[in-house]
């Protein structure tokens, strides 16, 4: 049977929720029915990409404004995990540029590794406008 899970979460635009959201991603990986999946590794990867993407939204799109909120959906459809993070903020062009050209991680810069990490761990990453909002969509296929 095709596994289908859909989780919808809304949290304030604050870094204190990073651990909670990361943990939900990690726990989701541990519930997957497919026995061939390395749940430990997948869970850590989901924790990582959720943390990175959410921090990006908090600081850049939502400009650290605690009155804003972040919407996150986590879906499992068969052998695909689809994560969507919605923001109503700014920085759309800059975010798209960063996605197109992630930093070279060899350098000693203190920032800019987040997008590189997300791109390395997920199979597909897009950032687009949708119904007046911006959505960062990350997809991972597992076997």
């Amino acid at each position: 049977m095709l596994e289908k899970i859909h989780i919808n979460i809304k949290v304030p635009n604050e870094t204190c929720y990073l651990g909670l959201i990361g943990k939900i991603g990690e726990d989701l990986a541990h519930t997957l029915a497919r026995s061939a999946v390395n749940r430990e590794v997948l869970g850590y990867e989901l924790n990582t990409v959720l943390t990175e993407a959410m921090a990006n939204v908090i600081f850049h799109a939502n400009r650290s404004d605690p009155t804003r909120s972040i919407e996150i959906t986590l879906s499992v459809e068969g052998n695909r995990i689809i994560i969507k993070i919605y923001d109503e903020g700014h920085g759309f062009e800059a975010a798209n540029r960063a996605l197109a050209a992630p930093c070279t991680p060899d350098d000693l810069s203190e920032r800019g590794r987040g997008i590189f990490i997300i791109r390395s761990l997920m199979d597909s990453v897009t950032y687009r406008r949708m119904n007046g909002k911006h959505v960062l969509e990350m997809i991972k296929t597992f076997h």
Binding site: L18, G22, Y44, T51, E52, A55, I58, P105, R113
Partner: protein
């Protein structure tokens, strides 16, 4: 953020007593590192034994400390890294930048001939 800070003759060991080192708490580690530099302690060892998760912000704080130590002719060493944390250093290739030791004792030993 819980940090355990112990000064030895050749270096200060900062042990991070948190399971996560992320964008929420890494600024506190940055402040603690800068306080050591301000106190003229140029050799630091960051013990990551308790850390199970690190994000790009946590990595950035360690890179910042590494560069700061270098400009003061000191060193910032890492030790006691858990496998998941090490995987993030490998993914971002930062394992080639830092000297990483199995334990804080080994890191301290590597600095035993350092003249302060």
């Amino acid at each position: 953020m819980q940090l355990n800070i112990v000064a030895y003759p050749q270096a200060v060991v900062i042990s991070v007593q948190e399971a996560r080192l992320d964008a929420h708490n890494s600024p506190e580690l940055k402040t603690a590192i800068l306080q050591q530099f301000d106190a003229d302690k140029a050799n630091l060892i960051i013990d990551l034994n308790e850390v199970r998760f690190i994000d790009s912000s946590g990595l950035g704080v360690l890179v910042s400390g590494f560069k700061n130590a270098s400009t003061r002719n000191g060193m910032l060493l890492l030790c006691s890294m858990q496998p998941q944390v090490k995987s993030m250093f490998e993914l971002t290739r930062l394992h080639r930048v830092f000297d990483i030791y199995a334990t804080s004792d080994e890191a301290l030993l590597s600095l035993k001939d350092v003249t302060l």
